[in-house]
């Protein structure tokens, strides 16, 4: 988590930005949403508790209601975890970022930057839950039809980056 935080923007951006603001904004390439998904976070607001899996609704959209404020975020401590991102060289936003977390029962592979909203990649989670080794996802051919395509990276390049970053994350665990 701390190395994820250190990779956000630059020191002056980090001196101002908060984790609450980042997840409330739910930018498709923001880093913190992936930590929330990977570490089964619970978002505490002034009204209720929301599971991360139900919090991130879509592009720049969350489960927050008008006037609802995030007061705390609770993370589940995993057995092992690592976040790896391929940053945009100018803004440091994730072109693709993957947060792999190995919990007791299963593995979460939270992907940011690749689609319109952060998501848990079920295919890689399944493979890694069976065998927690980067070889079990090596060469995986992910469906790129819903992936972002822009001047920074094509959808196919993003699909390939997701696997590369996930492998790096598993190896770093």
């Amino acid at each position: 988590m701390s190395s994820l935080a250190e990779g956000i923007g630059d020191p002056q951006v980090r001196n101002r930005g908060t984790i609450g603001g980042s997840i409330a904004n739910n930018d498709p390439s923001a880093d913190y949403p992936s930590a929330c998904i990977a570490l089964n976070a619970t978002i505490h607001t002034n009204e209720r508790k929301i599971e991360a899996a139900k919090f991130f609704k879509g592009m720049f959209e969350t489960a927050l209601k008008k006037g609802e404020l995030i007061e705390a975020i609770e993370f589940q401590i995993p057995e092992k975890s690592s976040y790896q991102k391929h940053p945009n060289p100018a803004s440091r936003y994730a072109i693709v970022g993957v947060y792999v977390a190995k919990h007791k029962g299963d593995v979460n592979v939270a992907v940011t930057g690749a689609k319109s909203c952060v998501y848990n990649d079920k295919e890689m989670s399944k493979a890694l839950s069976g065998n927690f080794s980067s070889s079990s996802i090596d060469g995986m051919d992910l469906d790129s039809s819903e992936m972002n395509s822009d001047m920074h990276a094509s959808a196919d390049f993003r699909a390939s980056l997701v696997v590369t970053q996930a492998k790096k994350a598993v190896d770093a665990c």
Partner: protein, 168 residues
């Protein structure tokens, strides 16, 4: 960051705040619309135009100032949000007409060409040395990641920061 309660004033339907800051050691109090950025407040309300605006989207770093001792991009902060703080801008660095060691080093080692990025570079670099007295080249480059220079190619900026580290 919010240090004191804001006084709200409604003028011509616009919500104004009374903003009290200590800027370069001088107390200032002015009314400004709620949505006034700190960068705009410094440049247009206080005429401190040494703080430059390159992008207005917190990318380039030309507008870096210190707020309560930490560097921040003044285009990321609302003036009302830093109410009650101590702000230092590039104009506040000299003492009795003598340049700050960081400014001296930039001058001596040609850490600038057009000078547009320089106020932000200098303010960021001073904050780095406040936090890390002897930074390595990598640490300097890493810290200045949010300060973009289109002229120098950065080599002399890094050299200037290293030089200043021996003087500060």
């Amino acid at each position: 960051m919010i240090k004191s309660l804001r006084v709200k004033i409604l003028i011509n339907g616009e919500i104004m705040s009374k903003i009290s800051l200590e800027v370069n050691g001088r107390k200032v109090e002015k009314e400004a619309p709620d949505n006034t950025l700190l960068s705009t407040f410094l440049r247009e309300h206080l005429q401190l135009t040494g703080t430059h605006i390159g992008c207005d989207t917190s990318q380039c770093g030309a507008c870096v100032v210190h707020v309560d001792g930490n560097s921040l991009k003044s285009c990321t902060a609302l003036a009302a949000d830093v109410n009650g703080s101590k702000v230092t801008t590039i104009e506040g660095l000299e003492t009795n007409g003598k340049m700050h060691p960081m400014q001296e080093a930039f001058k001596k080692l040609h850490g600038l060409q057009c000078g547009f990025c320089t106020p932000g570079m200098v303010m960021s670099a001073i904050d780095l040395l406040q936090k890390n007295k002897k930074p390595s080249d990598t640490e300097i480059r890493d810290w200045l990641e949010g300060n973009i220079c289109r002229c120098t190619g950065y080599q002399n900026i890094v050299a200037a920061v290293k030089e200043a580290a021996t003087k500060m």
